[in-house]
Amino acid sequence: MWNRLRHTVRAVLGVNPAGRRLTVFPDDIFIVSYPRSGNTWARFLIGNLLYPKTQVSFANVESLIPAIHLFPDRRLRAMPRPRVLKSHEYFDPRYKRVVYFVRDPRDVAVSVYYYSIKRRDIPDTMPLDEFIPRFVGGEFFEDFGTWEEHVQSWQATRNGKNGFVCIRYEEMLTKPMDMMANIASALRLEFTTKALAGAVELSSAARMKDLEKEQSADWKLTRSTRQDVPFVREAKSGGWKSKLSMTAVLTIERKWGTTMKDLGYQLAGDMSETRSKLEPV
């Protein structure tokens, strides 16, 4: 009741975050991903590429590449165009230029677990084995759908189409220069190799960790969370291997294995019984 009233008052005042209600312009560029899939890193990378003189930090990232889930539509409409925006939305047909980040859901699950502790959504006494089935069942980030729904909704509609590029977080780690070149070409922007390398350098995990230490009490996304749990955590791939039990791994793979395989993520369990998404209707 109070929540509804609060929402109504905020709606009348025009201060609710835009989210799905965002006004979209055709020249907007969106950095899209499921939560905990490298979106903030992508904002640093792309921001440092587009604004090399400013240098992205947690103090200015929300004015350079704001999150549509943090600011009201009115404020975002006032930005100079073309806008570059951060979004966690599942497929939105109005987005015409999209850099989509996807990450191994086993690593996403571990990352969401620690992030949920940081946000005090779950107690830090909850075991991962209890968290995983709930995560796979869609209990966290309800507004964005499950990891699989999110990925599928973009892949099925935009894969191979103009104005869309899908970047794997893991390849961003191993071949950052190639991936940056892919992003630039999808956005039809031209940069020198030096500019690409500079952006990668300015967005390293080490630098982001340092910036977080100084700025996380001020950043909108982290200021009301536990400051003893970092936002920029391992910034690695394959961390799930040492964190997740085999039961937890199989819980994820049984549910999302087909989509994982389609994206090139090797399964740890035997998935001979999973159905193929490519079967005819």
Binding site: V12, F91, P93, T146, E148, S153, A156, V281
Partner: protein, 273 residues
């Protein structure tokens, strides 16, 4: 002001409750017919008409969210994939017939630019440069966006795919599928009754009497029918070959997945490129 007076249709902001059933399709793909069929199966004593369809099987684009919360929760939607919809009856129709139907509907709605023939209308529909409220709202996406986004989800929720063409071929068989999908009791007699009460002829008769009152038609050209031909394959006489090629080039692979045979020759496809 409209917000305060609760006049804004819910649309994407609809509150979704567990147990809600959504009848979803791209526009002009048989959604209204499906609502009649399902409604006439659910409501054995009250035949569905254009006068009561918005209270029996309401559209999320007609009522406010608050009003919708007091109405039965079998809801009509044209939105692209929405993860909150847990039970979905999705209707798909040959996009070549969809664009023909959309073209006539655009005239009825008075939104077709003056002097536009179908050969101007279709490419504008394809590249998204033609937009007009309920006919092609940007949130519906293109036919391809809408269909592909839902089709990808058919394994991770309660999802029933209906083809408009299969419904035309044997409406009773397809309605029986819906009944078993939604756990509705359906005797052979009740299925026959529902199909008869939802026939194109009966819907045309009802439209003649009620079109001036129905939310969807009241401000449109009343001398043009909402329930038009209710057939399939009409594109073969209404669309010039280059327009067909244009559609098949853009959406051909999804059309084939759905069993819609392509007719354009490779030459026609490349000529229009």
């Amino acid at each position: 002001m409209d917000f305060a007076l609760d006049r804004i249709p819910a649309g994407r902001n609809v509150t979704v409750c567990p147990g809600d059933v959504f009848i979803v399709s791209y526009p002009k793909s048989g959604n209204t017919w499906t609502r009649f069929l399902i409604g006439n199966l659910i409501y054995q004593n009250e035949p569905v008409t254009f006068a009561n369809v918005e209270t029996l099987l309401p559209s999320i684009y007609v009522h406010s969210d608050r009003k919708l919360r007091r109405l039965p929760r079998v809801l009509k939607s044209h939105d692209c994939f929405d993860p909150r919809y847990r039970t979905v009856v999705y209707i798909v129709r040959d996009p070549r017939d969809v664009v023909v139907s959309a073209y006539h509907y655009a005239i009825k709605l008075r939104v077709l630019p003056r002097g536009w023939g179908v050969e101007q209308f279709v490419p504008a529909l394809l590249d998204g440069s033609f937009e007009s409220g309920l006919l092609v709202n940007p949130r519906f996406g293109s036919w391809h966006d809408n269909v592909a986004s839902w089709l990808a989800m058919r394994h991770n929720r309660k999802f029933l795919l209906l083809r408009y063409e299969d419904m035309l071929e044997d409406p009773k068989r397809e309605l029986a599928k819906v009944a078993s999908f939604l756990d509705l009791s359906a005797s052979p007699e009740s299925l026959i009754r529902a199909v008869q009460l939802s026939s194109a002829d009966r819907m045309r008769e009802l439209e003649k009497k009620q079109a001036a009152d129905w939310a969807l038609t009241k401000n449109t050209h009343l001398d043009m029918a909402f329930v038009r031909k209710a057939t399939s394959g009409n594109w073969q006489v209404e669309l010039p070959p280059q327009t067909v090629a244009c559609i098949e080039r853009a959406w051909g692979s999804l059309m084939q997945t759905l069993g819609y045979e392509l007719v354009s020759t490779p030459e026609e496809v490349s000529v229009t490129r």
